[in-house]
Amino acid sequence: MAEKKIKIIVAKPGLDGHDRGAKLLSRIFAEAGMEVVYTGLRQTPEMIVEAAVQEDADVVGLSSLSGVHNYFFPRVVELLREKKLDNVLVVGGGIIPEDDIPALKKAGVAEIFGPGTPTDEIVAFIKANVRPK
């Protein structure tokens, strides 16, 4: 079998227009050997999950700087489960208050990476927790 690559969707749900962080992380993931589908701004959970289905993504990375994470992040997890994609790893980043993290994790977001998280930590977490092919 050929070498298996990690396929990751990087998406920004909601109306948030600041994409520098998401774009930087997309590059970092690509340099770590992953195949990154950057879906861009103004994505609905439905659009993100449809992309995850078609791309057979192993990981969905969600970025939110505008406070919409409490609705959007769990909604993405819910829709993935509806599609029987329970083993897709969902991670989030951006401006997420510490207090919100437990509820997000309970809803199925595997980890939240706040600003300043060393990027190799994020890559390591993904590689350690991604589903087997």
Partner: protein, 318 residues
């Protein structure tokens, strides 16, 4: 999941999973490809190629829109390069096609080249078969946009569109070998930029030259578009349909597909044969021993090749 029946029903999950297996050379792919093969051959395949930045993704998006208006279902494969250093890839074509993301009549898959040259990924053709079997009427393949040498698309597509933009080089560029030779349709995108009319004239001139030099029955039309504004989409769609009609009526489509099948079969044979031989040579470091002997000038590489071939094909006709 019963993947074969799901793919034939058009299930996006099944289609996506099968493409992944194909890409990863998962042994589960082979029996499935075998089973879906009888259901291929109906889709019409369009290639969109051209240098980076010419607007291929935006054009693909617009073309898809036109096809959907005619109730045609569409499969899109967008190919992007893998880094030769890190092995990773930034697959950024999907971002131009978000308006179709929730349309069940459109399936889009990004593929990384994983080191394969020629503008496509190794298993793009296989993925096309899966989309075909899943019932898509049209398949659009958007190649990596590196320029001159990426001519593999012509072997995979029924209609190949070469996209140019004004200001990317002088008329001499357009005469060079490779990419300019494979066009069934020329698209001048960003036609609102200065130099568009001049480029149009230059390309038309080249088309006329080709008509005089070669015995071509199909003269490639030159379509002007401004993809970000949706201008020219209808013309492009119509030109593709006209080419299709020409190919079907002249019988050329069958010949094209025959040639495609020949190339693909030979390629697959080549790949499989070498894979097996390579495995055997890697065993017990046989290849390393051979290389050592060659380095010490104890034997030539030509002799080694002769020996290995004779092992595998002992009774050869001369």
């Amino acid at each position: 999941m019963e993947y074969v029946s799901e793919v034939l029903k058009g299930s996006p999950l099944a289609v996506a999973r099968m493409i992944t297996w194909l890409e990863n050379e998962d042994e589960r792919a082979r029996p499935f490809m075998e089973e879906i093969y009888p259901h291929t051959g109906k889709a019409y395949i369009i290639g969109i190629t051209g240098s980076p930045g010419t607007g291929k993704s935006t054009l693909t998006d617009g073309l898809t829109w036109q096809m959907r208006k005619k109730n045609l279902t569409v499969g899109i494969i967008a190919v992007d390069p893998s880094s030769p250093f890190t092995g990773g890839a930034l697959l950024g074509d999907r971002i131009r096609m978000t308006r179709h993301s929730e349309d069940p009549g459109v399936f889009m898959r990004s593929m990384a080249t994983r080191g394969f040259l020629g503008g496509l990924a190794q298993f793009t053709q296989g993925a096309t078969k899966i989309l075909d079997a899943s019932g898509k009427d049209m398949i659009i393949i958007e190649t990596v946009g590196v320029g001159q040498d990426e001519v593999d698309i012509m072997r995979v597509a029924d209609t190949t569109c070469v996209v140019l933009v004004p200001g990317l080089g002088d008329v001499i560029q357009s005469m060079k070998a490779g990419i300019m030779e494979i066009a069934d349709i020329y698209v001048i995108n960003k036609a609102d930029l200065p130099g568009a009319d001049q480029l149009y004239t230059e390309v038309m001139y080249r088309v006329e030259q080709d008509a005089q030099m070669k015995n071509r029955k199909w003269l490639p039309p030159v379509i002007k578009t401004v993809a970000v504004e949706g201008k020219g989409e209808v013309d492009l769609f119509n030109a593709i349909m006209a080419h299709r009609k020409y190919l079907e009526e002249s019988g050329e489509l069958t010949e094209k597909r025959r040639e495609r099948t020949r190339q693909e079969t030979l390629k697959m044979l080549h790949y499989e044969l070498f894979r097996i031989i390579r495995q055997r040579l890697d065993k017990d470091h046989r290849i390393d021993l051979m290389v050592g002997a060659i380095m010490e000038h104890k034997i030539s590489p030509y002799k080694i090749v002769e020996k290995v071939v004779n092992e595998w094909l002992p009774s050869r006709d001369s």
